[in-house]
Symmetry: C2
């Protein structure tokens, strides 16, 4: 691994730990602006490479859009190299407050350079729209402002899907450090050996872990691409849908999303891979290591699957007309549509095969609930995550037990371990802050001129990184018609949700700016 | 005070403490069924007395309905006396689980006997409707199924308002014991002297405190009645509206609610008394004792008023048309309507002067938010209560500060005191459980056949004890048209909300029924 890449990982790791504030025993030193520049410079080189891959796709399909990819990558490269050169003497020093700024701006900088191909080529003429579409890609949300997706060139479609894949990878690496929130450090999850987090040990550990995660991510993408190709998709479509699935993004290459492929095989493959992408990636690692007991005792996985299938069954029952004769094909269709929709929304992917806006109103509420819970921590999915939901419910139940047995010591257990009281409090605070953000955000959207249903659906969908919402923002609609202000606000909300609230919201507290 | 009344207070106090499970140092002993019978018997004698007062009103107005009040009170008396006689040898023994059952059934028993006048007289022919209307009264909710309120006789109207007043009084007495949830015991609030809660000391303390609260309650009711009479209401209307205000209930004697009295004086008087009824009653006690510093440092009062007036100002601004000339009367009307509506919904009263369903959609969200926050603990208002909201926000902000200063000890302070970590966790859990109940309840209502807006508004309004919701359940509509199942479910929800969730929900946990 190059020294620069190592720096990036080191910085990401430490910044994340800073943001979480969970491991105060690690020494933190003040970051200088040179290092920030060098960091962003390195990131821009990564983006340059990504833009060149999109250019290659345009080359293969002999498209004029190759020009815009080359221009964009040139801009990205020049700015990137300048940043690295201005920061070449930087020492590895990280300040406390800068961490939050850097992580937030990583997504903003990526989006500002990533929108260039859309905007320069005129594929998305409005700057606001281009930014919305790009940050929606990088945050793996999948909310789109495009009225006709198939109008775009292959290069643009590929770039659109690639933003998902890059964003998903970024989150997986970041969540390495975010996992300690739940009282389990990344090292604990990825290696059985107890490791004291000394400064020297972080380097090899995080490199090793990052490599493993990347391999799992790559493996899922490859497997899905091949399986979709077998089902009759072109290689291009297969790869792009896989990018959208594994990153739980939801951008498709077709206007009708997955409904375009009227094949049970293809739809079931995508269902399976959506569900797989909502699982904590560390469980795959345990699987490879034959540690199946670790997978079996993982409560997040258990409740994730229970909620997913329960919600599906309720929705299936609401769609079957029991007064007429039941045929296998009808039941299968209802089952597939329901399972697809629930999997898509709960894993915060956002692909569509059926227009759930047309379903019974009460199914909307079930769908909104799974959009708020999300899938597992340590996956690419967004929203609250099941681990937090499970802890909230366990704690509430513990409160009931405490009323009956006031003197008994009844600790909350998660996956066989006792959850510390301060971790519980923090989880409860996170979930509450998430719900407060929803209420506040709906209010802002509604004031900005969006409808009642659109405000509710749009806010929950963007905060959770889902994509489609309710009303005109449903799976067959898009975000094109909402006011510009709402688009900027929702871009902000996508970032807030993707970075687990505190990272971004911290910048808006007086405490952050006070000495 | 009679020995029976003393028993009732003793039982209420200990049961409440049991439910809260907050003072495990008090000895609890197993309750026998004889005491439960004697307890309910005594309560039924109270209800008999209340029914006789309503009979007196019918007598004054020479109404035929007096017959039904006499029959109802006779039934209540006979059952009550039988219960007391069968339980005459009972010892003062309280079991752990029975407490939750007894408090819950107090409201149910009161409602079952309280519905008799409506049902027997045919004023409300449907049993479901009569139960809904009565429990809505006793829980001080104020949700009505009546399509033409003014059709009712004076006796029935009086009884309807009296159920509010009795329910409000019950909650004030119960909240004596509920206050310790927030880390301050009732004795601490009502007397400066630190008192070790020994078994012997409870009797005089609780009697003393109950007397004081009752006096404040009576004083507020009397003052409002006189002031409304001065404004031109009849004594009858003045008394009934005061019952509805002080109990934060919301039943009016007029179909148009307070809009019937098109008098700024009357409406402002009701606004003032709604706001006063949302204040912790112990603060009035401090006021009488000239301890104004205690009132000044009370953060719940501060944030209650800040939120109330901020919400009002935003709504006023949304109603004024700045493009046309502003007149004083227009602005005053907008101000009065907005302040009335916000005060009415935030204190969970539910009186109406304007149809907010016709206002800008975003004001609905503001109104839903204040319906969820509620007013102060220790008042008759329902919902979450501001003290919990304040603690949630303070804790969230503390989390942000902790990220920046991971090693600093930053305790959450409330009204000058440090809030213990376990109290914070419990408050967070309560608020989350409240929000979970909202989500689950909306789903049930929606499945039962109610519309999207009606489900959201109706659930939040009934859980918080507000009354009017959204859509057809708005201030100019009512609950008559919703399905029977929804009426029973909402009756249950009113009870759950009124008894602060845990009391009622506890009965549905396996832990409650396990040995």
């Amino acid at each position: 691994m190059s020294p620069d890449a190592r720096d990036v990982l080191y910085v990401v790791k430490n910044i994340s730990l800073l943001i979480i504030g969970h491991l105060p025993d690690i020494e933190f030193i003040k970051m200088n602006y040179k290092l920030i520049l060098r960091f962003f410079g390195t990131l821009l080189l990564v983006e340059t490479a990504a833009l060149l891959i999109a250019a290659l796709v345009s080359l293969i399909y002999k498209e004029h859009d190759i020009v815009y990819f080359l221009i964009s990558s040139a801009i990205s490269f020049v700015v990137g190299i300048s940043c690295i050169l201005s920061g070449r003497n930087a020492k590895l020093q990280i300040g406390k407050r800068e961490g939050s700024l850097v992580v937030t701006f990583t997504w903003i900088v990526f989006s500002l350079f990533g929108l260039l191909p859309y905007w320069l080529s005129g594929s998305i003429p409005s700057f606001t729209d281009a930014f919305f579409e790009t940050i929606s890609g990088f945050t793996t949300t999948g909310a789109s402002i495009l009225n006709n997706i198939e109008e775009l060139s292959y290069g643009m479609l590929f770039w659109r899907s690639l933003t998902h894949w890059i964003g998903g990878l970024g989150i997986i690496v970041l969540s390495l450090a975010l996992l300690p929130v739940f009282g389990m450090s990344a090292t604990q999850l990825f290696a059985a050996e107890a490791a004291g987090p000394t400064k020297d040990k972080i380097h090899p550990k995080i490199n090793e872990t990052a490599k493993r995660l990347f391999l799992i991510y790559l493996l899922l993408t490859t497997a899905q691409t091949v399986l979709l190709r077998i089902g009759g998709m072109t290689w291009f479509d297969a790869l792009c849908q896989s990018f959208g699935t594994v990153a739980t993004g939801g951008f498709s290459t077709k206007q009708a999303s997955i409904a375009y492929w009227d094949s049970a095989y293809i739809q079931y493959i995508i269902i399976i891979f959506m569900i797989l992408s909502g699982v904590n990636f560390s469980l795959y690692y345990f699987g490879f290591k034959n540690k199946f007991s670790k997978i079996k005792e993982n409560e997040e996985l258990k409740y994730y699957l229970i909620l997913l299938f329960s919600a599906t069954i309720v929705i299936v029952l609401s769609q079957i007309d029991f007064s007429s004769a039941l045929s296998f094909s009808k039941v299968e269709q209802a089952w597939r549509d329901s399972l697809f929709t629930v999997s898509s929304l709960m894993t915060t992917t956002g692909f569509g095969t059926a227009d759930y806006v047309q379903w019974h109103h009460f199914t909307w509420i079930i769908l909104l609930i799974v959009m708020i819970t999300g899938a597992s921590a340590g996956s690419t999915s967004g929203a609250i995550k099941m681990v937090r939901i499970v802890i909230v419910f366990k704690y509430c139940y513990y409160e009931f037990k405490r009323i009956i047995h006031p003197n008994a010591v009844l600790p909350v257990r998660y996956s066989g371990h006792i959850v510390r009281e301060d971790v519980i409090t923090r989880v409860l605070a996170f979930v509450l802050l998430y719900l407060i953000t929803i209420a506040f955000g709906i209010l802002v959207l509604n004031i900005s001129g969006m409808g009642f249903e659109e405000s509710i659906g749009g806010l929950i969908a963007c905060l959770g990184g889902v994509g489609p919402g309710l009303g005109e923002l449903g799976p067959m609609g898009n975000y094109a018609a909402i006011p510009d202000f709402s688009k900027w606000f929702l871009s902000f909300i996508m970032l807030v949700g993707r970075l687990e609230l505190f990272t971004v919201l911290l910048l808006f507290t007086p405490a952050f700016w006070k000495k």
